[in-house]
């Protein structure tokens, strides 16, 4: 008899412990168990550190330190990845390139986030009204436009350069996120806690931001992470085409573009930035996959 009481007591304690932990803590615990995702997280953290501490890691100046008598050298002790067509150290350029790629990836995703979440939440909350219809038609039009060309078009219209890329990439991706957020908001808006909040006199804005949106953070985080990978690939493409970061800025994409001309003599110029992009995108994808499993254990 006392055993049963004891067991029941232990269960109650365990349950209280479980419930007292926030979803974030629980998710982190789940993430910790998945080795592959931890690897992805570690890699992402490493990349961020490389980007932040680039000036201390790179042995040479990536832009100004050029030497035309030392062009297109293969990897050596002085230049770990060799030199490019102006004699600049490739390793330093790759390290600084991390800054650019990660910066672009994150910033453009934030633009998409603001647009997508903002418009999607509006559309979902006011579903069925003209607001919803207008936003959804807009999203359809953006969808129908070939995204690469729109990005290129915006870049051509605004002139090449980094800020252009942020805007171009951000503009292109918001439709998917808006639709996702709209679906989620639709799910939650009829639930009781929303009714309760309204009964207490909360304004629409307050309900949206304080009550509904926090429920939606999980898919937002996942889409954001995967989106960074996509944004980095897109920035590569744009830089490769000559829009975006202009030479001599060390963008991985434009490095590959200029390496095309010398592919016979110095193939490493193509492989180095390509590999860097690949590793970065891979890391974010692993992290995104892991986050998806950790934040929503039902979806296996």
């Amino acid at each position: 008899m006392s055993e049963r009481v004891f067991a029941a007591g232990a269960e109650a304690v365990a349950e209280r412990e479980y419930r007292s932990q926030s979803p974030a803590v629980l998710a982190w615990k789940r993430l910790r168990k998945d080795r592959v995702s931890l690897f992805g997280l570690g890699l992402v953290v490493l990349l961020v550190l490389v980007a932040v501490f680039a000036p201390w890691i790179a042995p040479y100046d990536p832009i100004n330190d050029y030497n035309l008598r030392n062009r297109l050298q293969p990897p050596s002790k002085d230049h770990w990845l060799g030199t490019d067509s102006s004699g600049r150290d490739v390793f330093s350029r790759i390290v600084y390139g991390a800054r650019l790629s990660l910066g672009v990836g994150l910033t453009s995703r934030i633009v998409t986030l603001i647009l997508g979440v903002g418009l999607g939440a509006l559309a979902g909350y006011f579903a069925g009204t003209w607001i919803d219809l207008l936003i959804m038609r807009l999203a359809e039009i953006v969808d129908a436009l070939p995204s690469l060309f729109v990005a290129i078009g915006v870049a051509v219209a605004l002139g090449p350069g980094l800020y252009t890329i942020f805007i171009a990439l951000g503009l292109v991706g918001w439709a998917d996120m808006a639709r996702l957020i709209r679906g989620q908001v639709l799910q939650y808006r009829n639930q009781e806690f929303v009714e309760a909040a309204r009964a207490m006199g909360s304004s629409n804005a307050r309900i949206l931001f304080r009550h509904i949106l926090p429920q939606v953070t999980a898919p937002i985080i996942i889409t954001l992470t995967m989106g960074v990978a996509g944004a980095i690939m897109a920035e590569t493409t744009l830089s490769f085409l000559g829009l975006g970061a202009q030479p001599p800025a060390p963008s991985w994409g434009s490095m590959m573009n200029y390496a095309r001309a010398h592919i016979y003599q110095a193939p490493h110029l193509v492989f180095a930035p390509g590999l860097a992009i690949f590793i970065t995108v891979y890391a974010f994808n692993l992290l995104g996959d892991g986050l998806r499993d950790a934040l929503d254990p039902k979806a296996k």
Partner: protein, 308 residues
Amino acid sequence: MSRYFLRRLLLVIPVLIGVSVFTFILFYIVPGDPVLIMVGERASPETVARLRAELGLDQPLPIQYLNWIGKAVRGDLGRSFITGRSIAESIQARFPVTVRLSLYSMLFAIVLGIPAGIWAATHKGTWIDGVIRNVSLLGVCTPVIFQGLAMQYIFGVWLRWLPVSGLNDGSWRDFLMPAFVLGTGIAAYQARLVRAVMLEVLGEDFIRTARAKGLSERLVVYRHALRNALIPIVTTLGGSLSSLLVGSALTETIFALPGIGSYTLDAVFARDLPVIMAMFVFQAVVFAAANLLIDAAYALIDPRVRYE
């Protein structure tokens, strides 16, 4: 059901209008006067004015737009500012190249991706599954540029097995590398998707029934599970086909194939407005048509699907 499709067709029209208006506005913000680009800086003002009037560029914007629409509906897509060639002709010449590239790529994608996904699902947890999952993740993460350039170097320059670029004799050899690059990207994505979907379907009750009935595993997987998994698979395949048709501009540029993707890309860089307008709208049409076909395919595959 045909009323549904009719309604879908009609809904495409506002989207097309939106696309063309957007394109029009976008390229009028672009700095650079096409007339000046065409005749050069040193032309006399009379020549410039004459050319402008000829091209209808001196009219107010909405009138220009309506002119364009009026001609486009009748099939006259105008002439390129740069080359002067009829755009409709160029499309006719170039679209088949893009179609061929898309079809070959889809072939790679289907042949490589779907069996891999099924295999991974049926051997879940074994090394086969692990290998397939990792390889497909690698495939998703490899940028097209990198893969394209790497293959060009290895197979074109180093081994000299395949032509590096260009539409040389029009044989399959010209398309092999670009189709492989595009196809493997899609295949990687497909493999992961097929695996996930098959796993979900294989966990359902009717599969248990089929096995309990004593059906061979092959029948269970291929006849019952796969059929039901087909819808999401066909959706994504269709989506990939749409994007391919809309022009794999990057691949066409890297491999110098004269398709509509590279055509549009060159036009965007050259600010060739008639071509840009025509191509954006053309691509929206192709995209919408492809989506409609996919939806029609659903009705064939899944008898439960009834459009109202």
